[in-house]
């Protein structure tokens, strides 16, 4: 995955023939990004529906990043970090784990299926796990369908009132 720096494209118009899931994947610099790289150089096959954003630590993924990804039309967000007890910054991944747990509760209240946000541990040597995570998650998002915000081309119809 040496060409993992895929630039986020503008949300494509809703008139595309077949809906394809768009997934934003945050990878921590020390484990998961290297894991993604390994999956790439090992030529492991996986769906190409994801964009990788490298962060120094999974704890760098501000809840705002996740919320903005959804607001900009991502169908799923994947946060990948080092295994417990393996964090380069000692406790970063523990913080991530709590934030993601709380964030999933919040997303559920917002009406999203919390499955749209997933946290996984992928170490630098786990190329196949990266491949499996991407495969499983893409499949899951396919089951869930498009981001409920995106269906109306990114905007919600706020003026209409159903009772009149």
């Amino acid at each position: 995955m040496t060409t993992a720096h895929v630039h986020a494209k503008e949300a494509e118009p809703a008139c595309e023939e077949e809906w394809e899931p768009k997934i934003v994947t945050f990878c921590c610099n020390w484990c998961s990004y290297a894991g993604a790289d390994l999956a790439g150089v090992s030529r492991l096959q996986m769906p190409t529906n994801f964009l990788v954003v490298r962060t120094m630590c999974s704890a760098r993924v501000d809840p705002e990043f996740v919320l903005r990804s959804f607001a900009k039309g991502a169908d799923g967000v994947l946060v990948l970090g080092c295994h417990p007890a393996d964090c380069h910054y000692i406790g970063g991944n523990y913080r991530t784990r709590r934030r993601i747990a709380l964030l999933r509760m919040l997303l559920e209240q917002y009406g999203f299926d919390p499955e749209r946000l997933r946290l996984e541990w992928v170490s630098a040597s786990e190329g196949p796990k990266f491949q499996k995570t991407i495969k499983d998650f893409t499949e899951k998002i396919r089951e869930l369908g498009p981001n409920p915000l995106k269906d109306e081309s990114g905007a919600i119809e706020v003026r209409k009132s159903e009772y009149v």
Binding site: W19, L103, G111, R159
Partner: protein
Amino acid sequence: MAKIKIAQYWGAGCGGCDVAMLDIDEKILGVAEMADIAFWPIAVDTKLSEVEAMPDGYITATFYNGAVRNSENEHVAKLLRKKSALIVSFGSCACFGGIPGLANITNAKDILEYVYTKTFSSDQKNAAEKVYPQTLTHTKDGDIDLPVLYDTVLTLDQVIDVDYYMPGCPPTTNLINDFLGIVEKHVKEGAPLPPKGTVVASSKTLCDECKRKREVKSISELHLPFEIDIDPDKCMIEQGVICLGPATRAGCGAKCLNANQPCRGCMGPTAQVLDQGGSMLSALASVFKIGDKESQMNEEDILKIMSQVKDPLGTFYSYTLPKSIIKRVVKERGPKKKVEAKT
């Protein structure tokens, strides 16, 4: 010296902001000295038709409080924008949606259904027939209309162009005095006004203003304010009470904390972030104690810890839901094989 013209209007609000304006005590005399009230429904009897007859830009400054929630709020907001040189988004509701903004967890249909059929006081006959107020009624003397309730509560700046923001529920007398002082200087001495988009408050977080001591860096459990005796000198969060101080803009003088109550975030997010709830969520999740056993914990243990936060949306976004990144509750539509081409 010609007097300036000021106006104040309420949208979806409680009227507390109007009272806050009167709460500036003797300073109100200074206001009366430099300004005439062009329009202020709660205090003077100017009709909307008189505002419509005013030339564009006639009003020097309009203080709009309350969110925009129905067609009347929007109509008056747009009218006042046309008639005013300056628009001040006054109070949390106008700036971020405020408490009425929590209606974004539901929609107009469900609200009306609940209010007119399900409450204890609703007329049971009406409930059975689902009698709702209509936006248009024909009578032999003409048509009578009511404003249309929107599904989504909007902030003032989502509807019109806003010059200044004055958050707070309501804005404190200090902030109002500061702003009126600036306006007075501008009127009397021609001093320049602050740049457009200025938020009349501090740019730091509330923790910067709060006098409480923070010593322990982590907490192990959460409490509601009434469940414990809150130490007035120690940090609220350190005592396990959710306080939105770390994610909230300063400027209010930490009034709630001085009264031994946690901050609920009425001043909105700081200048550096877009989403107050997201910041608070991040801050709160970080202060939970990381023990030696953390590496052995599984996802369920973590969920158990975090489930102590009973209502993340209502707690973290009590004043800012319409201004948050997601803005309102959405509905999953399920799998979709093909998106139909737009015609």
